[in-house]
Amino acid sequence: MHLHRDILAALLFIAIGAFALYGARGYPVGTAMQMGPGYFPVALGWLLILLGALVGVRAARARDWQPLAWDWRPLAWISVSILAFGFLMPRFGLVPALLAMFPLAAAAGRQSRWHEVVVLTLVMSGFAAAVFVYGLKLPYRLVAF
């Protein structure tokens, strides 16, 4: 089944709006004169649901439905490489985090070649160590166990 991209967009907006209302349920709304912390979020939540509905109604009336082409593979590898960096950086230091990040990120590209990736990883890890730790003096350890 193909869904119009605006139907998905509408569902996304309505979901975010509903979530905003759900999250704001405990915040005091107050009055128009003395607005509480809940006033603005609740108003925005309803506005977003309304706009989402408008997008959805309009999309449902459209005729030109086209399939959406999703390609999750590059995004997945990029995300994994970023998560790996975040996980390794405080535990093992900058260089191990980059040694893991580069090959994982390069896996996202169809045209990446492994021998180039090895060179790129080593060169850029050295570059990052030189610029960020020695040059800009950011307080990171290069290698730590």
Binding site: Y27, M33, M35, F40, L48, P74, I82, G86, M101, Q111
Partner: protein, 496 residues
Amino acid sequence: MGVIESLALGFQVALSAQNLAYCFAGVALGTLIGVLPGIGPLSTIGLLFPITFYLPSIPALIMLAGIYYGAQYGGAITSILLNLPGETSSAVTCLDGYPMARGGRAGAALAISALASFLAGCLGTLLIALAGPPLGEWALAFGSAEYFSLMLMGLVGSAVLTQGDAVKGLAMVVVGLLIGLIGTDVNSGLPRYAFDVPELVDGVGFTVIAVGLFAVAEIATNLERREPQTAYTGALTSIMPNAAELARSFWPAMRGTGVGAFFGLLPGTGPALSSFAAYMLEKKIAREPARFGKGAIEGVAAPEAANNAAAQASFIPTLTLGIPGTAVMTLMLGAMVMQGVTPGPQVVTGNPELFWGIVASMWIGNLMLLVLNLPLVGVWVRLLRIPYRWLFPCVVMFCCIGNYAVNNNPVDVYLCAALGVFGYVLAKLECEPAPLLLGYVLGPLMEEHLRRAMLLSRGDPTVFFTRPISLVFMVATVLVLLFTVKGLDLRVHRRG
């Protein structure tokens, strides 16, 4: 202080060795990321954001500004030689720049684009110097009602006037406003949407949003496409345009500057829209419109002047009103706040070194860019030969380190990955992320002014329409909305 003394003060500030060095670093980096497709000024400024904490405010802002207008120069190089926009604001330059390059006039096209950008940059700087202070003075009379209406106008403008769908743009603004609310409410001290996560109590950081939504999502989108990397660098022998080309480019560049300055001043529109508008104008008034698309020099001069003029002019509302008109300006504003400078009309009078220093540095920066882009154009051309498969892992590295550097906290890095996924989904659904970013920055300010205005009026919402300046902004907002009512009004379709 008159304009002359003020400018003298500005040049005194901008010509210090430190500020010159940061100005040069900014424009060189701007040209670099302008040339490289897939990396824009937005993600670059977002990434450099944490590093600027360690700098004094004036050099930090001079450098960030340089990145922005430097990218307008660099983007043209890629458009002309590769038929691929280095920046979205240079996309329209491909139409005539690339045919010129194929016809052996690559050098002339590059020179004209640099010269047109320089002309626009000089006039744009002059406009800031002349229009900024009176605008700031006028804005001193603004109360909360005026600020709220002005921000509403900016947000609606950004949603409606960017590329893509107006209703989705408005929805993206609201999503941004909601993200901006995450964190502790200043009035009650209540943490909102934090869900007991300590990192969220302080709010979602600027860098995380800019880098995740723009840089990470853009890499994922770029990698889906096949890479069409064939730089047209063959016939780059002479960079000098001939006399006829120079003469034909002057007025298009002047008109482009005017169009760009207009769009730069309007909140919500930026260099990208202005370059399209300038190109369309030239095509419309040309004696032989058929030449456009086949290497007409006017089609290079006008949009390149327009995008640089717009980049310069967009500093006017940011510096004098504290209201950013474009996504990049929201980052500039965020940088000012981080540096302890409260943006608003008091900047011009209360902090003249900052305001005039930045203005003077822009003119100096444009001069540097002319040198960087005319004699040294070959250096940038060589950069175009770097394949994207080497480039994108390096961008990921900068994203990781940049986000980690904000708080030395891995949670920011994880959040960046999550926002990358969100940004990819938004790109697939054709939802523009730029209005979201604007909403995110203005959200807390807007709520604050809404609360204050309503408190002062004792809960009477007509205050936004009875105060004359506020009324003007409200009428403009309604006009902008009516402008797109065809897309909004469902009944029109049903009857027809």
